[in-house]
Amino acid sequence: MANWVPLWLHRLGSPPVFYRFAGAVRPWALGLALALGAVALYAGLFVAPADYQQGDAYRIIFIHVPSAWMSLFIYGAMTLAAFVGLVWRIKIAEVVAMESAPIGAAFTFITLATGSLWGKPMWGTWWTWDARLTSELVLLFIYLGIVGLYHSFEDRRQGARAACFLVLVGAVNVPIVHFSVNWWNTLHQGSTVRLVGPSHIEASMLWPLLTMMAATKLYYIASLFARVRADLIASEGGKAWVRELLTREEGAA
C-alpha cells in the first residue's frame, strides 16, 4: 500500500506516461484556476470592504501577495526538480525544472510591478531599496540567468544540467541575499517604511486572498504541464510514441 507513491512517481519519469498524465490533468487545472481566479479577483476588487487606512488601493494585495508567494514557491519546486534531475539524471525532472523558470520569472515580474503600483499611491515612491524588494529583484535576475544559461547551450540536455546546477547555487544564495540585505538596511538606513499589508486581516479580505493563492498554484501546474508537453514533442521527436501522437493529432493542430 505504502509504496504506490514511489511506484507512481517512477512511472511518471517515463516521457510518454508523463505526457499523457499532464494532458489529462492540464485542462482541469487550468479551468479550475480560471474559475477560482475570477471569483477571487471579483471578490477582491468589488466585494471585500475598503481598508480604512489605504482605501481601495489595498486591493492590489489580492494580486501582489499570491504572485510573491508563487515566485518563491516555484523556485522551491524548481530546486527540488533540479536536484532530482542532477542526482538521478531523470530527464523529466530536468524538463520540469527548466520549464518552471519562465513561469517563476513571470510571477516575480508581476510581484515587482504590482508592488510598485501599490507603493506609489501609498508610500509616495515607485521603488525603495528595502530588503524584500531588493531580494525579489535579485530573484528575478536569478530566474533570468537560469533561462539564459539553459538557452545558451547547443545541446539541450547539457544546457539543462548546467542550468539545474545554477538553480541549486541560486537556491543557496536567495536566503543569503535576503539576510544580507536586511542587515544592510538596518546598518545604513534606519527604519525604512515597510510595505506590509493590513496587519489584522478580516475574514472578508482573507478568503479572496486564499482563493487567489489556490488559483495561482493551479495555474502554475497548468502552465508547467503545457510547457513540458510542448518541450517533449521537440526533444523526444525521434521516438515512436511521438510519431504515433502525430498521426493521432493529424488535423487537430
Partner: protein, 228 residues
Amino acid sequence: MIPGSTASACAAVLRRDLTLAWRRRGDIAMPVLYALIVTTLFPFAVGPEPALLARIAGGVVFVTVLLAVLLSLDQLFRADIEDGSMEQLMLAPQPLALLVGMKVLAHWITSALPLIVVAPLLASMLRLPAAAMPALVLALAIATPLLSLLGAVLVALTAGSRRSGMLLALMLLPLCVPVVIFAAGAVAAAQEGLPWLAPIAWLGAGLVMAVVLAPLASAAALRIAMES
C-alpha cells in the same frame, strides 16, 4: 617535491598560469587602467565637491574593482578549453578541484592583486579619508578572492557554451550582492569612525567557505559543461 604528486601538480598549474600571464604583461595592466578611467569619470559625473565624493568613494572604488575582476574572469578557462589543455587537466589523476583552485589563485594574483595595490590611490583621488583606507584594503583583499572563487563556478558553467559574455554578469550579480553589502558596509563604518570588524568577519567566513566549496563546485560544473 615528488613529481607526479598532488602538490607538484598544483605547483605546476600555478607556475604555468603565472608564466602565461607574464608573457602577456600588457594584459595585466588592462583592469588597472579600466579602474583608473572609471574612477576618474566619477568626479566629472557627480561634480567635484569633496564631501559628496568622500561619501561615495568607498562604494565606487569597490564596485569598480569588482567589475574589473568580473571582466577578466571570463577568460579564466577559455584559453585552456580552446587549446585542449582543459581536457588534459580533467583527465589528470590529481583532483580537478585542486587544479581549478590553482587556476583561480593565479587569476587572482594577476588581475585582482594589482587592483588592490592601486585601490588606495583611486580612493584618495575620490577623497576617501585615510582612516578608512585599511578597511578598504582589507575588504578588497577578502572580497576579491571570494568573488574570483564564486565567479569561477559560474564561468565553469558557461564553459561549454559560446555565448557567455553578459550572461556571466547577469548570473554573477546575485552572488555579488551580499559581498558588496558587507564590504562597502565595512568601509562606510570605518569612515564614520564606527567599529568595522564585524562585516569583515562575515566576509572572512564567506571566504573560508568559498575556498573549500567553490573549487569543488567549479570542478563539478566543468565536468557538466564539458561533457559533449
